[in-house]
Symmetry: C2
Subunit: 225 residues, 2 copies
């Protein structure tokens, strides 16, 4: 039986089609797994409010250690290495789940859970998981901001940002197939100062110029070695 | 009949299975279209060396104007908005071709060419094409460098860079579906200085710290407005 517990009656509505919903943490006592999916800062507090239980209690945070769930014994982490948003479907098969448990036997339960989602899981400790979280934040947040500035650039020149989609898909595809270092191209990589000057002049905002200068210097420095 | 002309006998070998190859530009006189696919700086010179012809002569450069092919009359541009590399297959259907012609009637020929590749084409002038080229360089080059630093970060922590691939694919998917501005998440966006400090401390090289600081500040500045 699936239960979803939450503090907001409104937000629970979305879950009613596939689970029982409740605003009482005490209703969760009979479960096999209790999954705490809240902001990092609230994990310890929510965990403390869960009544005594035989269930395996796991949190879903990349940067929070397993120990935050102590002194309980049956604890674990179930961290999906993916970015989520409301109203956007995800292919769960393609999410790597990074899992950790305190008691060896509980591994099987989390393994069954990823199996039910047809996803892959990777066992690791809190330190390794934190490294993945850092690399994920670094890649996702910064790539996304570069796209934000690209979109502004397109708006300024009255051209379509959408037309860049195949290029960006190929950028990612290639970086993971050949390695990003082998895939680097462009004026910064080949130290083409004429083009760099021309492109800098074509940028209209300080934000774009700053980002262009910093990343161009970073690329130049990286490849002069 | 398809001809590929090149200066290097060795490099021409790769084309022999599907075209006649030649080292003589004079052999191209009978063609319908002559496609100049050389570095930007060499386009004018190669164009000048092509003997008098009734063919439509086009270059494939994003940042070079149509005029570089003058004083000839039947000239055009056939620019694929995509990144290419040797030894990596591409799905041509997914490449937007940005095209330009001097004589209206020649449009049909380039349109037929993209049709033969099952690709889409978009007609525009040299200025618009240059804007796409700039946005493409900006997005592709800088995203790729961020992935290069992410890979280094993974190596330093002995974790697998490959595990980040589904996340990056979703980052691109989401940025083009919801818009990158609506997709921004992370400590910089929510001004979470505790996490920012923690992450900065976990980065091991000056390169990563510099990139992290610049992009974090850029994101903070962008969203404080």
């Amino acid at each position: 039986m699936q239960f979803v517990a939450g503090r907001s009656r409104e937000k629970l509505v979305a879950f009613q089609s596939f689970a029982n919903t409740t605003m009482q943490l005490s209703a969760l006592g009979q479960s096999d797994i209790i999954l705490i999916a809240v902001s990092d800062d609230s994990i310890a507090q929510v965990a403390a409010e869960i009544p005594e239980t035989n269930a395996l209690i796991v949190h879903t945070s990349g940067s929070t250690s397993l120990e935050v769930l102590e002194p309980r014994e049956r604890i674990g982490v179930f961290y999906p290495l993916q970015t989520f948003s409301k109203n956007k479907e995800l292919n769960y098969k393609k999410i790597p789940f990074l899992i950790e448990v305190k008691i060896e036997e509980d591994l099987q339960l989390l393994s069954k859970l990823t199996h039910a989602l047809q996803a892959e899981h990777f066992r690791m400790n809190s330190k390794e998981r934190a490294a993945y979280h850092l690399a994920a934040v670094f890649s996702n947040n910064f790539t996304n901001h570069i796209l934000t500035e690209s979109e502004t650039l397109c708006e300024q020149h009255r051209i379509s940002f959408q037309l860049l989609k195949p290029l960006l898909e190929e950028t990612i595809e290639k970086a993971f197939e050949k390695g990003p270092e082998n895939s680097q191209t462009g004026p910064a990589k080949r130290n083409d100062s004429k083009t760099i000057e021309k492109q800098l002049a074509a940028l209209q905002t300080t934000e774009q110029k700053d980002l262009y200068t910093t990343l161009t210097k970073a690329i130049q420095k990286h490849y002069e070695r």
